[in-house]
């Protein structure tokens, strides 16, 4: 059996999505901007897809949802254009982000920092959550942007976006949220949440890879990152990724249709897995269940190093993660574990299981067995549970 529990890294493409995309490779391959029937063939499907995407986040037609190549591009666009439009011009000199943003936000903030912009990295609380009042405490009249993710990719923690949106609106500060992990897992409404910019990525909700979007509220348009042939209303040039947009539209529609299923049925499976792993002694989960997206668990097994656990799980056919995919080649501990102030001994033991609407009950049973086997084997090897003669002063707790 092969079980995929790494859905926060990427998801399987929904077969209906794939089916809708297929005609746009060998039949309807026209460039939408040309003047002939091949081009016209793409217009209606593109328009419908855009409507689905707008509907999915409840964006009014007057606002823009610009299709990009990925969430990383969307995030880069916001930060770099804020730099051009506000920082470089000397109008503002400060941005606020959380300390647990995805690297595509953190690295942008660091880049702006290197260009002289001040950055506040807001801390999370012991439950792994950003408290809205901390945002308000750091906003000054020089703050150009607040960027706080909607759902954290590591823990699944849901951040108080509505409250933060309220605060930013009241203080007249631009508000961006990276909602990559929120789409299809929690209700996302850009109007209710008062966001100015919102990032998404199709491959995180059963759409294709290489398609993202940036929602931009009317009147908050940013300098384009891609100049060129004026596609996407001149906001983002480049020949439209027709199949990708169609796929994202369908994926969004499916995500909205299955939101209830995600929030109840997937949650039930997740909770069952969580109960079972917590039944293993010396096991810890950060962020209480009700404050988390329904598909995610970040769990620590004391004495079991994360990569070793992944290796044992992989041998049994199970895909999980120790952190964000791009960082998992790194030697360092899970950044969220550090930010949370978890016991230092647990920093390298975090394992993330992320389910999807494709996860089955049988798969969860299989994973529960496999986790027990792996933890037992690795704790058997682990120095954390090893014999020491009487009077032996353990040298294992001091850092080197």
């Amino acid at each position: 059996m092969r079980v995929y529990l790494d859905n926060n890294a990427t998801t399987i493409v929904d077969p209906h999505v794939f089916e809708e995309m297929e005609p746009f490779f060998v039949q309807k391959y026209g460039n939408p901007n040309s003047l002939h029937q091949f081009a016209s063939d793409t217009h209606k499907p593109l328009k419908e897809a855009m409507q689905k995407i707008y509907a999915g986040i409840h964006a009014p037609n007057e606002d823009s949802v610009v299709i990009t190549s990925c969430a990383t591009e969307s995030n880069n666009w916001v930060f770099k254009s804020i730099y051009f439009d506000y920082i470089l011009t000397g109008r503002k000199n400060h941005i606020i982000i959380s300390e647990v943003e995805h690297p595509s936000v953190i690295a942008c903030a660091r880049f702006l920092e290197s260009k002289g912009c001040k950055v506040t990295y807001l801390p999370i609380n012991s439950e792994g959550i950003i408290e809205a009042h901390t945002v308000s405490a750091f906003i000054t009249d020089k703050t150009a942007l607040v960027s706080i993710m909607w759902v954290n990719n590591e823990t699944g923690a849901i951040f108080p976006i509505h409250e933060i949106g309220e605060i930013c609106k009241a203080k007249g500060v631009l508000f961006h949220t990276d909602a990559v992990q929120a789409i299809g897992k929690v209700p996302v409404d850009v109007q209710l949440a008062n966001v100015d910019y919102l990032t998404m990525s199709a491959h995180k909700f059963h759409g294709p890879k290489g398609v993202g979007a940036l929602y931009i509220k009317k009147g908050k348009e940013l300098t384009p990152l891609f100049h060129g042939g004026s596609q996407m209303g001149g906001l983002r040039s480049g020949t439209l990724n027709v199949a990708g947009i169609v796929g994202m539209g369908k994926a969004m529609e499916q995500a909205i249709d299955s939101l209830d299923f995600e929030m109840h049925d997937v949650k039930e499976l997740r909770d069952r897995l969580e109960d079972a792993v917590l039944a293993i002694k010396d096991t810890f989960v950060v962020t209480p269940r009700e404050k988390r997206a329904s598909n995610t668990i970040l769990v620590s097994f004391r004495g079991v190093e994360g990569e070793a656990m992944l290796w044992d799980l992989n041998r049994q056919g199970i895909a999980a993660s120790t952190g964000s995919a791009c960082a998992s080649e790194d030697l360092e501990s899970n950044p969220v574990m550090e930010a949370i102030g978890a016991e230092a001994d647990l920093a390298h033991t975090a394992i993330r299981f992320s389910l999807s609407r494709y996860t089955t009950s049988e798969e969860i049973d299989f994973v529960i067995d496999a986790v027990n086997t792996a933890v037992e084997r690795l704790r058997g090897i682990s120095s954390s549970y090893a014999y020491a003669p009487e009077g032996h002063e353990s040298g294992l707790s001091v850092g080197h």
Binding site: E305, W311, E332, H348, S384, A386, P389, L396, H400
Partner: protein, 320 residues
């Protein structure tokens, strides 16, 4: 960059088969109790290194027979990734049957080599080399415990890059002789910094007393001081090696190099050695010069004559 850097692979694909097997079935994983050691007529040594909070930790058990200091049994327990487990296992294996003095000589490089499938292909990817260092450190701790001395006493030199075992003195020398100015150059010349990267600058996996960036800064300062001192005319014989190389380079730059380059060649200074009262300057011809017959006669004479005139009568130029 380049094609191999653009799309990451999984580090697991770079593990040797031996590493993979040891991860699945470590042979020496286990414990030795006081009773078991006593039954072997041996003394039990239990040494720890690392910390869970750093990502890897190991506990090494030795049963050592006191009359001959032989490690008759050696086992480990380890918190860490698969390569940490495989390295610990290999380390425990290498200790078996050796005397404590011999075991202390086992380095992380021996451990890594023992895990290779073929002699010339590394057993683990560079960022995992670090795991074998822990295996080395714990041996020193165990030996120190057995002998009742401090573990640091086994280390004759200050090691800056533990993964590649490059000492402070080697690094200082290589940086000066080759006038290195970047981390990449240091890594190319010595392999220091190629592995876990902790030694490059603060903020890495492990805190260090001295980093490669410090050494570059130190050399940079020294060069500035040299330039500042250049006004004072010290004789060639009084110069430091760096000053000598600089002085020779300067003369060649001003008088010779242009001529060589026009002919499509060039030269580099390899070393300057004092040989009795002579200064032997080793050079190498590059490009067109290297195959040119006059490079060992006419050109060589011109170089030597110029250097003698400008710097010191006792200079001899030796092409390699």
């Amino acid at each position: 960059m380049g094609i191999d850097s653009l799309i990451g692979g999984t580090i697991w694909d770079e593990y040797s088969d031996k590493v993979t097997q040891l991860m699945a079935n470590p042979k020496n994983m286990g414990e030795i109790t006081e009773e078991q050691a006593a039954a072997m007529g041996a003394k039990l040594i239990v040494a720890d290194f690392g910390a869970e909070s750093c990502g890897d930790a190991v506990r090494l058990y030795w049963a050592v027979t006191p009359n001959d200091d032989i490690i008759v049994e050696s086992k480990f327990k380890s918190f860490g990734c698969g390569t940490a487990i495989a390295s610990s296992d290999t380390m425990a294996e290498l200790c078996k049957g050796k005397s404590v003095d011999e075991a202390v000589k086992i380095t992380n490089i021996d451990v890594e080599k023992a895990m290779r499938d073929t002699p010339d292909k590394p057993a683990v990817p560079p960022q995992k080399m670090h795991c074998s260092v822990m295996a080395y450190d714990v041996i020193k701790k165990a030996a120190a415990q057995y002998k009742g001395v401090d573990a640091a006493s086994f280390e004759a030199e200050i090691i800056v890059c533990e993964c590649a075992r490059i000492s402070l003195s080697t690094l200082r020398e290589v940086i000066r002789i080759n006038e290195l100015t970047t981390i990449e150059q240091i890594t190319d010349y010595t392999k220091a910094g190629a592995f876990c990267k902790s030694c490059i600058r603060p903020g890495g996996h492990e805190a260090k007393d001295i980093y490669l960036v410090d050494l570059l800064a130190e050399y940079e300062k020294e060069k500035l001081a040299l330039i500042a001192d250049a006004g004072d005319s010290v004789s060639f014989a009084q110069m430091t090696i760096v000053q000598r190389i600089k002085a020779v380079d300067k003369v060649i730059d001003e008088n010779i190099r242009q001529m060589l380059i026009m002919d499509g060649g060039n030269m580099e200074i390899l070393d300057i050695k004092e040989n009795g009262s002579n200064f032997d300057i080793y050079i190498r011809y590059l490009g067109a010069c290297s195959g040119c017959a006059s490079s060992s006669t006419g050109t060589l004479y011109a170089i030597e004559a110029t250097l003698k005139e400008r710097l010191d009568e006792n200079i001899r130029v030796i092409p390699l």
